[in-house]
């Protein structure tokens, strides 16, 4: 029994193993409940086509949440950067300029977010909520509330590069999703920027004392998130060859669900890219899976809720460290009610 416990403890330490198992278990369930759909390759190609924007957003958001911050503005960046892309392309007919300016627009939104959070000191959840309304509003204003078709972009190389079909089958965006995942894994786990994010999320005071430039790191982080969101926005616009003003709105909650299903800690200081990767694919495949299983589309959200609750619980129960951390949090909050010292992470109002 003790041996079993030790080996489970060792296995849980492998990043994202829990959620990877949940993902494959879910796929097996779908193969059983909807064999006609899930034994063919088409459904998987459809996932690879539709999930990448959600996946890329979830990967970026993983870094933000690991730093103990939150970003609610990325859904507006999806719309805004999509608009910038379409507008520049239709006006000048140059897709690469459109692409660069779209990413820059994301960077601009991110910079303002970061500046408000790190310099002015507004809690990120509020600053980015305001940003979400503002940039969404601006997009509607500039586009006149219309959706714009850009089917002229189809023959361009940029379309093939980002959303073409490799061998006439595999959607290119799925490979871009993997590339972003690999890149961000190295950033978070092997780069000084990622290490600074980990320490800021863990304890901002410690980070400061150890010589981490907290303000600069946070601004960089939000700019990073802005650029990543804009990239996701361009992928979405290219795939749909269409821009519409609410194109990011449906992605906000699923993205957050993907990150938390993956096992990233809401308290900051721990984030898992592999977890978010499979989290995104779980969230993105649930709807199709539930519908194909024949229990009806109305059940999708309910099942998403169940899967999220189950994965988060599993993560906490299996990972004793996180269980202890949760206990610590509860103790801390009781301590505060008694009028004790406030910890820095709670001061931020999250």
């Amino acid at each position: 029994m003790k041996h079993l416990k030790v080996s489970i403890a060792k296995l849980v330490k492998i990043e994202g193993l829990t959620i990877t198992s949940v993902f494959f278990a879910l796929m097996i369930v779908f193969v059983i409940t909807a064999p006609r759909v899930f034994t063919g390759y088409r459904i998987y190609m459809s996932f690879l086509q539709t999930v990448p924007p959600l996946l890329i957003l979830a990967l970026g958001l993983t870094l933000v949440i690991t730093a103990g911050e939150m970003d609610l503005s990325f859904s507006a960046i999806i719309a805004f950067s999509g608009f910038v892309f379409c507008y520049i392309f239709r006006t000048f007919g140059t897709p690469w300029l459109a692409f660069i300016l779209a990413l820059s627009s994301g960077a601009l939104v991110g910079f303002i977010n970061g500046w408000l959070v790190a310099k002015v000191g507004i809690p990120s959840i509020m600053a980015t909520l305001a940003a979400q309304f503002f940039w969404n509003g601006l997009t509607i204003l500039l586009s006149g509330g219309l959706s714009w078709n850009i089917k002229e972009i189809r023959p361009y190389f940029i379309h093939t590069l980002f959303v073409g079909r490799i061998g006439g089958l595999i959607p290119a965006q799925s490979l871009w999703g993997i590339a972003v995942a690999v890149f961000l894994w190295f950033i978070l786990n092997r780069h000084t920027f990622g290490e600074h994010i980990l320490f800021i999320g863990d304890n901002e005071e410690v980070a400061k004392v150890m010589g981490v430039n907290v303000t600069a790191t946070k601004i960089k982080l939000f700019v990073f998130m802005g650029v990543i969101s804009a990239f996701a926005g361009v992928l979405l616009t290219l795939e749909m060859i269409n821009f519409w003003t609410t194109q990011g709105a449906g992605l906000l909650l699923p993205t957050m669900a993907a990150v938390f299903i993956g096992g990233t800690s809401i308290t900051g200081g721990y984030g898992t890219i592999i977890g978010s990767f499979f989290g995104a694919y779980i969230v993105g495949s649930l709807e199709a899976g539930v519908v194909a299983s024949g229990i009806g589309g109305y059940w999708t959200r309910l099942v998403t809720g169940l899967v999220m609750a189950a994965s988060v619980s599993l993560n906490i129960i299996l990972n004793k460290e996180k269980g202890e951390e949760l206990k610590e949090k509860i103790k801390e909050s009781i301590f505060i009610k008694k009028g004790g010292k406030r910890s820095s992470s709670l001061k931020k109002g999250i």
């Binding site: 920027f193 600074h196 410690v206 980070a207 010589g211 721990y270």
Partner: protein, 256 residues
């Protein structure tokens, strides 16, 4: 034998003042720490000890005043934590020295990572040095603790050991210990005090902050007593007994 240092004071402060808004945290503070001197900094809660330490370590600048490090005046405009590291000043803060959820090897090097040109961390190298610090420099014998352990697996004494080992590795000339023994068992307190002696033996300087007067008395060469942002006394060890020092301190106890 202690190495001979070619400067008189590890740190010297002239007329340091610090205001937070209109509240004065420090008023006209003058003090110095010799090149190989252990200074006990004592004072009640809110006396300004932490503020003073944060100024020395570059966490924030003073409102007014001058700081000399190794007898050289420091331009305060660009003095920060990184600068303080470069000048060999290291602090071990009470509960603020380690990132709880992070691996120990990360805790050793955060802010001073060994990287390639693109800023990617050389993990193997960092882990190797972390192991050397833990097992060779500070003689770490925690059960089942390795360089890959998380900081929250360590006891209070072990944490101090890690932070102190880090300071030694980075060649600190002045090591500041802020309440290093407040949460420790008696046995672990002895370990920490022995380490402070090692600081002295190696020719380095140390500022030791503690509420426990007997500990401070045992290891310090000089006591600086801070009260409500002002230095009320500077006493050499040979001028006072522990009993007299305790009686003296009681005068400045404002709490209940």
């Amino acid at each position: 034998m202690p190495e001979k240092r070619n400067f008189k004071n590890a740190v010297k402060m002239n007329n340091i003042e610090k205001y937070f808004g209109h509240t004065a945290a420090l008023k006209g503070v003058n003090f110095e720490v010799g090149a190989n001197e252990i200074v006990g900094l004592i004072g009640d809660n809110g006396a300004g000890k932490s503020t003073l330490i944060k100024i020395i370590t570059g966490v924030f600048p003073p409102t007014n005043g001058e700081i000399y490090i190794r007898d050289k005046k420091i331009p305060l405009r660009n003095y920060n934590v990184k600068q303080a590291y470069k000048l060999g000043i290291e602090a071990v803060f009470q509960d603020k020295s380690l990132g709880e959820k992070q691996d120990l090897w990360r805790n050793f090097f955060v802010g001073r990572q060994i990287t390639n040109r693109l800023g990617f961390i050389k993990v193997r190298e960092e882990k190797e040095i972390a192991r050397k610090i833990m097992f060779d420099m500070i003689g770490f014998r925690g059960v089942g603790i390795s360089a890959e352990s998380k900081a929250n697996k360590l006891s209070g004494g072990e944490r101090q050991g890690i932070a102190i080992g880090r300071a030694m590795y980075f060649d600190a000339e002045l090591i500041i210990l802020d309440e290093p023994t407040s949460a420790l068992s008696l046995k672990e307190v002895r370990k920490v005090l022995n380490f402070v002696r090692k600081i002295k033996e190696s020719g380095r300087a140390c500022i030791y902050i503690s509420h426990i007067l007997s500990d401070v008395y045992e290891i310090s060469d000089k006591f600086i007593i801070l009260d409500r942002g002002e230095i009320v006394a500077t006493i050499k060890k040979n001028e006072v007994t522990l009993k007299k020092l305790s009686e003296f301190m009681l005068k400045y106890a404002h709490g209940k």
